[in-house]
Subunit: 668 residues, 2 copies
Amino acid sequence: MAGGWRRRGGGALAISIASVLHSVTAKTSTGSDIELDERYLITHRIDSLNILLYTFLLILTVVTIWIFKYRRARYLHETGLAVIYGLIVGAILRYTGDSTSLRHMRVVEGPSEDPPYTHNAPPDTLWLRFATANNSQNRTYAYDFKGEIIGTLENEIVQKATFDPEIFFNILLPPIIFTAGYSLKRRHFFKNLGAIFTFAFIGTTMSTFVVGGLVYGFLLMVGSTITFIDCLLFGALISATDPVTVLAIFSDLHVDVNLYALVFGESVLNDAVAIVLSSAIESYASTSGGFETSAFFLAMLNFLWTFSMSFVIGSVMGCLTAILTKFTRLKDFPLLESALFVLMSYSTFLMAEAAELTGIVAVLFCGICQAHYTYNNLSGESRLATKTLFELLNFLSENFIFSYIGVSMFTFDHHKWDVAFICIAFVAIIVGRFINIYPLSFILNIGRRPKIPVNFMNMLFFSGLRGAMAFALAIRNTSSDARKSILTTTSLIVIVTVILCGGLTTQVLSWLGIPVDVEDDETHHLNQFRPIRNGPGSEEGGSSADAIDAAKFEKAWLFRIWSQFDIKFMKPFLTNSRPTLLDTTPLCCAPLARLLTTTEQLTRDGDPLNDDLPLDDSLLCTGGVRTSLDPTNKQSVTNPVYEGDLGLGTASSVGTRVSVAGTRGHQL
Amino acid sequence: MAGGWRRRGGGALAISIASVLHSVTAKTSTGSDIELDERYLITHRIDSLNILLYTFLLILTVVTIWIFKYRRARYLHETGLAVIYGLIVGAILRYTGDSTSLRHMRVVEGPSEDPPYTHNAPPDTLWLRFATANNSQNRTYAYDFKGEIIGTLENEIVQKATFDPEIFFNILLPPIIFTAGYSLKRRHFFKNLGAIFTFAFIGTTMSTFVVGGLVYGFLLMVGSTITFIDCLLFGALISATDPVTVLAIFSDLHVDVNLYALVFGESVLNDAVAIVLSSAIESYASTSGGFETSAFFLAMLNFLWTFSMSFVIGSVMGCLTAILTKFTRLKDFPLLESALFVLMSYSTFLMAEAAELTGIVAVLFCGICQAHYTYNNLSGESRLATKTLFELLNFLSENFIFSYIGVSMFTFDHHKWDVAFICIAFVAIIVGRFINIYPLSFILNIGRRPKIPVNFMNMLFFSGLRGAMAFALAIRNTSSDARKSILTTTSLIVIVTVILCGGLTTQVLSWLGIPVDVEDDETHHLNQFRPIRNGPGSEEGGSSADAIDAAKFEKAWLFRIWSQFDIKFMKPFLTNSRPTLLDTTPLCCAPLARLLTTTEQLTRDGDPLNDDLPLDDSLLCTGGVRTSLDPTNKQSVTNPVYEGDLGLGTASSVGTRVSVAGTRGHQL
């Protein structure tokens, strides 16, 4: 099977469990297939645009109703407003809509004036004229295109237990990925940005090629006919790790936050890398028959373009939400605020999908931006509401997917048990994980001042569980035998790693001698930002700050530049936290800076609940904004709302503090 | 069109906005139609069962993982558990599944061994063998049944803006109705139970027949061919009021709580009555051609059966959730608790649908039970989480529906503008509402001690806005011209009443002289329950209590009996609140009572956040459990979590207290 092709029909909300046929995929190599492929893309885009339309209508309603409530106008309720906006948009659609039409085919006689069906691709709808014996009147019934028939159909309850693969991408994965971004412990994530990026980008790509190459080589030896592209695709999708079990135990046992950040950060980003990488491989396959250099570079460009544009859409939408929540007093109406937050976040996904980018990547970076900026502007109720909502959605979606992986092992009829493939796959993922972690860690350790200790590397190696993303990518296309083997192998790997690695995590932690019940130093730094309120330059920093300054100089330059920009411009502009733009920009920009500073921002007393965490100590030493790291200032503030788990999920939300010697040494 | 028929295919989650054809309905009068009808019912039931399966899997996972966490077993994470349960259920399905099979038809040549298609109804799937000019290899594509073709197809974006009507019933309405039940101010609801039941059951039925009769009579005069059944159906669906706009203003302006309870209670119950009534009318239509007495009684029985069985399922599931949350320590893990709560509530809907009852009614009573019992057992986090989640879902669903009503006025191609119908419909709903409110109020006032004042009647009359439920019922079936006119008229009525009545509410309130900023006396009674902790009979009640006792005697006897049972048995059994069963049951039952009393219940200090509101003062005077209504005991406790709006939705959650003369007099 040469023509890998992403089935994207069915649309962003197109759940059709009533569908008789699941796995609806088609392979493309001829003209008709390319036509069909384009058709699917158009359908998917129109679906996304359609839901986007309603999402925007709701966003418009939310913002307008805020203005009404703000002005105490009671003559129009949000439902009335929704109706009116709906009427306007409906009229616009009706009278300006384009004329994209669907291809119909009439089977059993159609009216003679109907033009005969001449397209190369199968029709989008079939109209069946149907006459029964006891009913002389013919009736016309419509049938919708579902996909190509390959498997055999079994009993209905088994078929029904199988969902449209599109559900994973459009309904279940977005909240999981968004929640990952939203609950990211950003300080530790950004501190380890270099290592995380290395593992996620370089490591995942290496793992893809190693796994793909090993599987291809071995299967060639045993005489299989699998193509290299299929093996590479398997390598890409199986490189998305999902150490949810490990992370839950880390969080339970209070394992070192930097190890947590490395494992979590890598898994979040390699999901995004894997989805874009597998798309790029598929599009590479559809543009070339063999292995051509130009097609390879095109695929690389495709990868970079998709990833970066999805990143841009996600970030821009996150920042837009921050601006909306900063410059309106929407927080007086927490329900409106929460609704706006949810709608903006989901519309990010839809926009990226409508633009033929990757919604999952967009929604991940949207989540990070929402947490980094918007979260500061939200009311206490909305913070809790959004955190709780996404935690709950995440929990339900995740467990649903894992249940489904179990059920589908038996009910999904596109499984193919290829023992050779399964055996080599298990070996290959271990080798791939090894090559991802150890060489890169040693290279990273050359440049890193606090090195990654060997037991951390072992733990990172062990945390290579596979989960929801790998399964979702595998089940998306099961049209060929190779793809069926990929699905079966992926399902097995997910089940084995989740049960085995998940079950052994506690033991492995103690075997590796990784300290547990480590104090999270994040809380110490919560209040570091406070002195800044006195204005820039008010504290010129002591010798300790300078020493730390020097130590931090070895830190990732990319991160340093970004965090300077973030602290001086982005945060003052996008959030209600201190310092304001008035404090951070030169005097000449004062009028503009004043315009972009809200009264709330000026009058805010910067309590820890309202202020975001500073990303890093070094942030405080930039551009005249300087503070001493006086130990007396290190107040310990417990902030249950701010922490990733919200008090939901762990029994004891206030961490037990046990001093472990060498904790600071482990800080990466 | 004689054969009204509920289209239920597509399934509980069967959203198919990718569908080319929306409004997929069929009318039934012949054998083939009845076969098709049955087919839809089977499909819908299998869909419901299927989602129910996954919901149960998740419930099982949640409960088991609690046991694991409780025993501090870390070797199995919930995802691992979900996989294992999934494998077990998948294997069971695979090897024990029934053999219900779908009807296929192969068009353009099929293999010769395929038996010819002989069914009376159109096939469920079409398999199209398709060969293109440049591709000699034939491929088989599957097509899914969508429905009968009636309208003409327009451009794709317009078609796509139209959703499958099933979405309303399976996705959008359940959270709205559940939230209505969950946020019901039960004390005032139960106090006005008699009046609410009268308006909702007798009033709605009267309104159905009055509207149906008026429309039929007038249309016969102008020479229309509409049937009486269609008119009756219109009467039933248009009798579901949705005064969401009015209620928001009531809540904003702190209008008398009893007026609020009457308007809200009626609208909640008449939604349920309307949906069951319209089903009964449709099933009546399908069993008889004309108006037969036996069929009429059958329809009445159908109505009573559906309503009461849905009520039973909803209540039992609500109580089951209460038991689960009471007898486990699930509250230590708020995320699990919230997830269980959501899953149990949604499975209530699915179970009722799978049992061919009405999920909407089940979910309403489930919501009331969850609020009345389960809410007491939840942790603080889960209380907030569930309230917030359902408020948000309610907000989004409601506004989505209203947006959709607006958009579909232009994009849905099954509209039919029948001016005569529209005119008489507006007149008829006014007459119907008049007959619903005024005569019944006068009759109710004969037996009621605090009468319903005339300005309250006027306000009730004015609160007859139509909304989501009426629209969802109207759009469910648009196969005939009459049904299309019904849809158009209903949409118009919704739009006009929401904008007009919604906009005029504040003015009407002042015209009618209805006092605003009325103090909610609920908070006064929050702590009445406390003395009971001293044990039964510890306070034998003063003369004031006796006087109130006497006054309450005139209250609804049904309510009195129920509340005695509730306070003596249900609440002690199902919740962690005081008194316990040990206090309320005779001594002989002590061993059993001890078994059903948790340690938490015995040690609970009954702070207002943990204790539910007593339903009524009179509750305190039953069975030796007696307390004085000493005014010093009437502490005012603000309880932002408990109140219906959670602090979300209104700017100032703490009500301004303005004493209005005669407030107590208005108490109904």
